[in-house]
Symmetry: C2
Subunit: 422 residues, 2 copies
């Protein structure tokens, strides 16, 4: 039997079980789902030592195979991180259950009432790297939203993920729910990813989390719809009418609060009218905070310590304490720069001018468009979703941070009294 | 130059123009869009003779190439049909403009306000057969929702489509909007369909309308997301607690009001407790209305004039005055039959029992689920969408009838006062 046949068989069995579990889970009461989440949190705490022992196996293998320090840090579990995972499950239990919600039910001229009922998507395929906490978070969000999930973590975290998934499966059983609503692809065979993303008969949506190359490959090869974002090339535009202290504050926060995240600012655009005053201020503040700056020729002339930006800089997601800086002639030029270089994730205008802010909100076509706020707010928690399973820079179904609602769909419901069409 | 290169070049040029037009159209005011729709309606009326002359060319070619009577009827235009098209455009002008609507804007603990703004999808690729009125309807819905559209009608309607699209393009120009927001693929080369559905760089969504084989091929080969439905295998379930007169009335309407449409009933399920009384009644009424019935063995024993159903009947969309009839033991069996055989389009329960109706609404997983109403109501007009561009039996983005909202997406907007993340 070739590897490919085996992978196909494994996926067929995972898919069949997931579909069956999804049919039960989509009708489970809120209380039972919340009980499962509480039990899973308790189990993570109870089995902390076993989970850390499993994680040690991954850490040892990771060191041996030469994972870098950042990767090892993402992989590592300790009691604090396990406690955080358990608390995350408890928080998800406290979120309102979106399933079954009926909205917009209204009478039509024919006499029927027409509205929507919110329902789970079905089976979610989750593909991710390193961080084992994604196993718990993703499973919990899928469970709460009534979806079965097939989890495919990175091979470097297989022991950790196995231990965490086991807690969730036991909690499902103990709560009287189908354990196969949470399944881990318990193999490091890469062919399984290929099978998962083509398993249209079983899987309703794929959510990949990880590096750009992983996500790009999945998007290109998938037959199942994918909810994804590739890049976060986020812009802050400091308008002529900006409060410059606010602008410095937001620029530093947007770049330096966390540099390795997708909602960090990569490019700072500055209106020419305030550049002479603002550029030296913001360069000093950013440099003091530890950032390196790559500037356009005009900005380089206004402050010391700026490198010259190359054309490639405007299209680069640094994921580091680096930013590009460009002076633009006006709002139009800022919007045009963003239209050309943004990845459609998040952009913010800093301005006290009503007309400029209104135009920016309307004309910039990104998943999140902000006015006088740091791009770092583009986040499921900050937006009030409770938690996020990913981010979408696609246009269909869901855009920006994806929470419980993004894992559901709506069906139409019609309440009649014997009406027929005439 | 090979045909394929030519098709690629044509699509590149259509795509570039569409994207550019979309960038303008997404910010156009409502008044200008509605003016364009009114002008287009006037032009259709003005150029009625030219349009009918163009249609004559298609009709002659269609007769020559052996199109059947039903196809020729769908293809034919006359003054009534052109007037209906013009009125359709005027009705779409009167619908509320969904673009720019801000909703759910609320304060978060950090101090920022977070909400949604509705925006167009971008560029729609519309692929359809025969009926030339789709050219006007689809262009009008795309225009009103701020989207550019690339129209690819059937080769049998090319002259008619050309004449209609010309009216829309002239109306766009006259209203000061980019005419390339409405483009017709002015070639019958089939390679262009292949290019259109793979033009990810230019097209945001493909909406195919036509026979199952066309839609299946598009769904299989597309790289661009597709909004589609394949089949309409709709069920009516007559519960033990049904008002039997209402049930007869709805069954006849659901099957016979129009037989060639996707929301017509294909299978009638009857609870065993009422079968003995109901089956003879409904068979008599359906037969009198001109329907042929293919029944399960139990139903065949209860009425004369029923053929025996084969296994294939339960999975057949007749699109004709034919239905299948099955007696089921209870609600569970009805829901199980539907889960196995439905195409996920529309199902209806006829029942006076609260618990049965509630369970049916919750447990049946179709785009439309009804209680005491005819499946024929699954329609954009009847649901209050004003008009529909298609129907979706997929789960993501939009489900059921697709109107203006289905042609839009939402971006997040954040209004701050200088907030940063801490």
């Amino acid at each position: 039997m070739t590897t490919e046949t085996t992978a196909k068989d494994i996926m067929h069995s995972l898919g069949t079980q997931a579909k069956q579990a999804a049919a039960t889970l989509r009708m489970a009461d809120t209380r039972r789902k919340d009980t499962a989440l509480a039990l899973a949190a308790a189990l993570l705490r109870e089995q902390q030592d076993e989970i850390i022992a499993a994680n040690d196996l991954d850490m040892q293998a990771g060191k041996k195979s030469g994972l870098d320090a950042a990767m090892l840090d993402r992989l590592a579990l300790n009691d604090t991180r396990i406690e955080a995972m358990a608390e995350g499950l408890e928080q998800i239990a406290q979120l309102p259950d979106p399933v079954g919600e009926i909205s917009e039910l209204s009478y039509r001229p024919s006499g029927i009432q027409v509205g929507h009922m919110r329902v789970p998507l079905g089976v979610i395929g989750m593909i991710y790297e390193s961080r084992p906490n994604v196993t718990a978070d993703a499973a919990a969000l899928c469970l709460k939203s009534g979806n079965a999930v097939i989890l495919r973590g990175g091979s470097e975290a297989i022991h950790s993920n196995r231990a965490i998934a086991a807690c969730l499966r036991q909690a499902m059983r103990d709560a009287g729910l189908p354990q196969d609503a949470v399944q881990l692809v318990d193999s490091t065979d890469r062919a399984l990813v290929g099978e998962l993303i083509r398993a249209e008969a079983f899987v309703d949506v794929i959510i990949p989390r990880g590096g750009r190359s992983l996500i790009e490959r999945i998007a290109n090869e998938a037959r199942v719809p994918v909810i994804k974002h590739l890049d976060g090339i986020c812009h802050v535009y400091v308008d002529a009418a900006a409060d410059l202290d606010m602008a410095v504050n937001i620029a530093v926060n947007a770049k330096m609060h966390r540099t390795g995240v997708c909602n960090a600012m990569e490019t700072l655009l500055v209106h020419a009218a305030v550049a002479e005053v603002f550029v030296p201020q913001v360069v000093a503040a950013l440099t003091a905070a530890g950032a390196s700056i790559r500037g356009c020729p005009r900005s380089c002339a206004l402050a010391v310590g700026i490198e010259s930006a190359s054309d490639a800089d405007w299209d680069t997601e640094y994921l580091d304490a680096i930013l590009s800086l460009r002076i633009v002639d006006d709002l139009d030029a800022a919007i045009a720069h963003i239209a050309k270089h943004s990845s459609g994730h998040t952009e913010s205008i800093i301005s006290g001018d009503y007309a400029a802010g209104q135009r920016f909100l309307r004309e910039v076509d990104s998943a999140s468009v902000m006015w006088n706020a740091s791009t770092r707010f583009a986040d499921g928690f900050e937006y009030g979703l409770g938690a996020e399973i990913g981010i979408s820079t696609d246009r269909l179904h869901v855009r920006g941070p994806v929470g419980l609602l993004g894992l559901t769909t709506q069906k139409w419901i019609v309440l009649g009294h014997g009406e027929i069409r005439t």
